[in-house]
Symmetry: C2
Subunit: 341 residues, 2 copies
């Protein structure tokens, strides 16, 4: 049995879902993978809990109503820092779930650097640091002999990088196309059904699919960040967000919609890396795709990704739960695969 | 740079495609994975070539017309055996591509045992030995500290096991459904388009999709073998072929076809492991599926597989080239992932 110390930073929806998941999966991880997951510290911007050895356990982060909470824990301390937790514990896996800032990567990028410096593996659901400096973080991790798991930041429960790096090992990936943002795909699907943009957006917000400020999603930046991270990871490249040609789903020309309808094609917001012409191009583009395109039927909040290769043809992955539990499951997957490598 | 000695057994379509692929990919495998692939011996039932150290190379197995052949090689010897090659070489990866016999597993199962006993990793495109005794082979491999790569035998270029074991690590897979046989799916697709069974089969044979004797495919045994191997591998189980309820696509009741047409559903031959009721069931079943089923649009010779999980929802993979080159690429993938583990 291998003991896996875990420090979780960030206690929003995904962080809380991760705590629940660890509580639920601890026994099966012992049985199936020989891993004893020890959630040893949980932190947010105000403070955190740090369990003394042997005290980490299911009850400490459940309040009297069964909700995941840490303010009621006897181990809570305001102002507790990541540094304190890293110092107090034997190395393990640092799990980063704070809010994403794709411009600066902060504060997550600093937390991740701290953890790597102390010899911790890192698993993150946060796109910010990866958009800003994936190559640098990867280099630091390599130098320290630790791993960086980023499934949680690259479409989470939809496997993208695993497939590219593992299942397609040995192929040349010539093109990657992804429907990587549930909100914009939901809106486009509803528009295809005849609903106008504003109504579809309102619907999405009412259902909790779209955020109150949907700009990142509908302007294409979320898709751009994801295709950028996937591309940089697959090709060990260092493209920047400014090199991605970004379109959103705002102000769709009515003639494009009419054309789609006439030809029975679908308008999709596709994150794309394309090297088929020999000149690599990165874009988030509103694209008309035909019924034989493998992403044509990816509708609603669903996601999907297609890899075109030289030797295996094209391989498409679709599905994967788009909710905090799905994201938490992607974090756990990376932990298992990193520790069991 | 890691030197990877390779012995290939079996020189049919897949074996020849594998030789070509190694010749094509040697430089990129050095650059990207730090692996020097050394195809050191190639054998079939009549004999084989065994290259002296340093002599393995691209020209030795291409005849004057550029075809892959070994009878013209100066290193060819009739009656050369696997034993001889295993003795002569430092351990590496044994690649098994002889014809499949799912009843006895022979002769492949003996070759694989020989190779494992001598400390070689094994990568196989052959379902026979895996249907007959996957658990036993796995156990022998574990004991010797070597790996068994079976992607080539489980839908080849369509990633199935990778996704289940790696991308879905930590989830409980509750159901697996796959369209795993191109021939039967092609025939069903044509029948949906109004063509009768015999015409569709003839078409498939003319196009080289179906074999002259299509029994394994249309009676469901090929699908059964694949879902059996996938299930046994994912759950470390030891189900036998006799425990799989097997249906084929022969004698489809006309009323089933009429029903499919009326409801706009699709008749698909699904290989299925289902544990949702708590009582595991393995079957190859002609199934009516609705348009929202993720395999509904998998038509023609395409394949696809859907995993239903507890925490990540359902994840579907489709595509992957169904030809000898795709199968060879799956063998290469396993080699890379095994050696680079």
């Amino acid at each position: 049995m291998v003991l896996v110390n875990i420090i979780l930073m960030g206690f929003g929806n995904v962080g809380k879902a991760f705590v629940r998941l660890i509580y639920q999966k601890d026994k099966s991880c012992e049985r199936r993978y020989g891993l004893r997951l020890n959630l040893a510290a949980v932190l947010n911007s105000r403070g955190g809990v740090l369990f003394p050895e042997g005290a980490a356990g299911r009850n400490h982060l459940l309040d009297r109503n069964g909700a995941v909470d840490m303010r009621e824990s006897p181990f809570w301390k305001t102002g507790r820092s990541l540094e304190e937790a890293l110092e107090a514990l034997q190395t393990g896996v640092f799990v980063e779930c704070t809010p994403s800032d794709v411009k600066t990567g902060r504060p997550a990028i600093q937390f991740i650097r701290q953890a790597i410096d102390k010899g911790w593996h890192v698993v993150t659901a946060n796109k910010g640091p990866l958009v800003v400096d994936l190559a640098g973080l990867r280099q630091s991790a390599d130098k320290k002999g630790v791993s960086l798991g980023i499934s949680g930041a690259t479409a989470a429960a939809l496997p993208t990088l695993d497939v590219a790096l593992h299942s397609l090992a040995g192929t040349e990936i010539q093109c990657i196309e992804g429907i990587l943002n549930g909100t914009s795909n939901y809106i486009l699907t509803r528009m295809k059904e005849g609903v106008d943009y504003s109504t579809a957006l309102e619907e999405a917000q009412e259902k909790g699919i779209a955020e109150p400020d949907p700009a990142q999603d509908v302007e294409g930046w979320d898709t751009a960040a994801k295709i950028l991270i996937i591309t940089n990871s697959v090709f060990e490249a260092a493209y920047t967000l400014s090199q991605v040609h970004v379109e959103g789903i705002l102000n769709i020309p009515p003639e494009l919609q009419a054309e789609a309808r006439k030809k029975d094609e679908a308008l999709k917001l596709i994150g794309r890396f394309d090297n088929r012409s020999g000149v690599p191009r990165l874009e988030t583009k509103l694209s008309l795709i035909t019924p034989i395109h493998p992403l044509y039927h990816v509708d609603g909040t669903q996601k999907g990704i297609t890899f075109s290769t030289d030797t295996m043809g094209s391989v498409t992955v679709t599905g994967g739960k788009s909710d905090p539990r799905g994201a938490a499951a992607a974090l756990l997957k990376d932990i298992i695969n990193i520790v069991n490598r």
